[in-house]
């Protein structure tokens, strides 16, 4: 089957970097306007990955959200929902101002974890860790059986891979030869309350995925050229091995006082903090 109706955007790495910066600014502004807690550390960790997927790698059509030929995306790391909403708004799915105006409020479609019932543009209701990747695996099974050439993408947190269901899904995806399944792992080495290797030794991490029979790539998850390169290097959807892209990242990336800071797993930003964060983000962009 050849997909003809949905195309990937024609966009350069430089343009993607601009879009990723836009995403991060919008993230911080939302965090500044909402009095409750936002998972800002983990959102910044995956912002570049989201940009690479939604503004480049995935064939999706915001005007035809149920098109069967679309690539699917399931957020396994459900607490990064805000980064996903904003990435999707930049692609044209949702209205950013509406997200900011209603986030976390009664009857809003936008909250801490994605809900498909309230927000049909997302593919699945997730949040509890270790669920999204297995659901994506079921979607990939459908795609393979249907002979479709779309892919199913999911973002998994490295801490989330402490859940046994992730490895059950890794077994099932390999056993059922789901070459259309692509897992991006946000390898930021932090849990909510600790630096992950202090509590749970995940290394040797790439080898773990390889040992499960997966096609594994390892990249800098904040380097847009590497993200684009990994997406371009994906095997065909009808191949027989699922792909894990281990993305080395930094929790709180781009904001100096949040980076690798356990205190910024989640929080809200005062006006002063917001200005400080935006200034830090702008400065870190110049350096890179």
């Amino acid at each position: 089957m050849t997909t003809t109706t949905i195309r990937r955007p024609d966009v350069s790495v430089e343009e993607l970097e601009d879009l990723s910066y836009e995403l991060k600014v919008k993230l911080l502004k939302l965090c500044g306007s909402y009095s409750g807690s936002v998972h800002i550390g983990g959102d910044l960790s995956v912002a570049d990955m989201f940009t690479a997927l939604f503004q480049y790698g995935m064939r999706v059509d915001p005007s035809d959200i149920a098109n069967p030929e679309r690539d699917r995306f399931v957020l396994s790391k459900g607490h990064a929902a805000v980064a996903m909403y904003i990435a999707m708004s930049i692609r044209g799915f949702f209205d950013y101002d509406e997200i900011v105006r209603t986030y976390g409020q009664l009857d809003s479609a936008y909250g801490m974890h994605p809900c498909k019932v309230q927000l049909p543009g997302v593919e699945a209701s997730t949040g509890s860790l270790g669920h999204g990747m297995p659901i994506a695996t079921g979607m990939a099974l459908h795609g393979k059986q249907a002979g479709a050439d779309h892919r199913v993408f999911t973002i998994v947190g490295d801490g989330e891979t402490g859940e046994g269901s992730i490895w059950e899904a890794a077994l099932a995806a390999r056993s059922n030869e789901l070459g259309n399944l692509v897992v991006l792992v946000d390898r930021n080495h932090q849990l909510m309350t600790s630096m992950s290797e202090d509590r749970v030794v995940l290394e040797p991490y790439v080898e773990k995925w390889a040992a499960f029979g997966w096609n594994v790539m390892e990249i800098d998850g904040h380097n847009m050229s590497e993200l684009v390169g990994a997406i371009d290097a994906l095997p065909p959807a009808d191949s027989n091995r699922p792909t894990a892209i281990i993305c080395h990242t930094v929790k709180g990336k781009g904001v100096d006082f949040m980076e690798k800071n356990i205190g910024w797993h989640a929080g809200s930003l005062s006006q002063a903090d917001l200005e400080r964060a935006l200034a830090s983000l702008a400065a870190s962009r110049k350096e890179s």
Partner: protein, 319 residues
């Protein structure tokens, strides 16, 4: 309706499940079957539709999440396995991945109740309470092997998730004649008419219930047996009617008596403000039951045949 059943015919609900799924697989090209290594029931389906069958091995959690992913894509998915594990190890997957998005996944399996002598790790005795507490979930307990056929067929046009409980499923007593009798998910079956007491039951306890009612008829006690095969949504109208017409309830079930059908009926009594002259639950007390043959376990734990007769006589004597 008068009693139409005899207990001479024994068949396996597993074979009915297998045959039915094969038939439904022909009719519904979007029907899938998944099992965590308990696939004997699904052999016919697997052979006919190998591209819509997945055995995930020993991983109940992912069997349910995979079903969710398939159902999001427009499929109807049957997950078949042992109920103690599908209802507990995969409980959060059932709740978050299936019930929350209200997907057409059917969880069907064996070992509901103190069945099979597997010991306390292998009995599903909390399952109806757990599943009934989940939003969007429909809960069915199979009391006749051929009922699997009726329920699965009806479930094809049912929008949300469904939990379907059977016993061991190897030697099941045929009770109903489905050429004479229509059933509907959500509507209780009056398995035997009676005027003095209503004995509510489900699943494998139906046979014991009817036998008890027959015996008491000889003592001049008229027991109505209601097969509440749909635990949720429960047939409130039937409960109301039986309260008015008999005024005395005994509930018999192969489940913890704190959280199964008796609990569901109690909720209706409380919500509706219904007062009875007698109410008694027969089922498993708060114990881990241990090993033993099914009948011995029921006798030990207070819901065997003698216990049922005693409770019904007590009900008859109550004013």
């Amino acid at each position: 309706m008068t009693e139409t059943m005899n207990f001479d015919e024994i068949i396996s609900s597993r074979s009915v499940t297998g045959q039915t799924l094969k038939e439904l697989g022909d009719q519904y090209p979007n029907l899938w079957a998944i099992t965590p290594d308990i696939g004997a029931t699904l052999v016919e389906f697997r052979e006919a539709f190998p591209d819509r069958f997945v055995d995930v091995g020993l991983s109940e959690q992912v069997s349910v999440s995979l079903a969710s992913g398939l159902a999001y894509e427009g499929n109807i998915v049957v997950v078949s396995g042992m109920l103690p594990f599908l209802s507990m190890r995969a409980l959060e997957q059932v709740r978050s991945d299936v019930c929350y998005p209200n997907l057409p996944v059917r969880i069907i399996g064996t070992h509901g109740g103190l069945q099979g002598n597997g010991g306390s790790t292998h009995y599903a005795v909390e399952d109806l309470g757990l599943m009934s507490s989940l939003v969007n979930m429909t809960v069915v307990s199979i009391s006749d092997p051929n009922m699997v056929n009726e329920v699965l067929k009806q479930s094809m046009s049912y929008p949300g998730p469904m939990y379907i409980r059977t016993g061991v499923g190897k030697k099941d007593t045929v009770v109903y004649d489905f050429e004479q009798r229509q059933i509907q998910i959500g509507k209780a079956i009056v398995a035997r008419e009676g005027e003095d007491i209503t004995l509510f039951t489900h699943g494998e306890m139906l046979v014991q219930s009817i036998q008890a009612a027959r015996q008491l008829e000889k003592e001049g006690i008229s027991v109505r047996v209601v097969d509440m095969f749909t635990i949720k949504p429960i047939d409130v109208e039937m409960i109301r009617r039986c309260a008015t017409e008999t005024g005395k309830f005994v509930v018999l079930e192969d489940h913890l008596k704190m959280s199964g059908l008796a609990q569901a009926i109690s909720n209706v009594l409380a919500d509706e403000g219904i007062h009875l002259n007698f109410f008694k639950r027969l089922g498993i007390p708060q114990v881990y039951a241990g090993f033993g043959e099914d009948e011995d376990l029921r006798n030990k734990h207070g819901y065997g045949m003698q216990d049922t007769l005693v409770a019904l006589r007590e009900a008859a004597a109550a004013h």
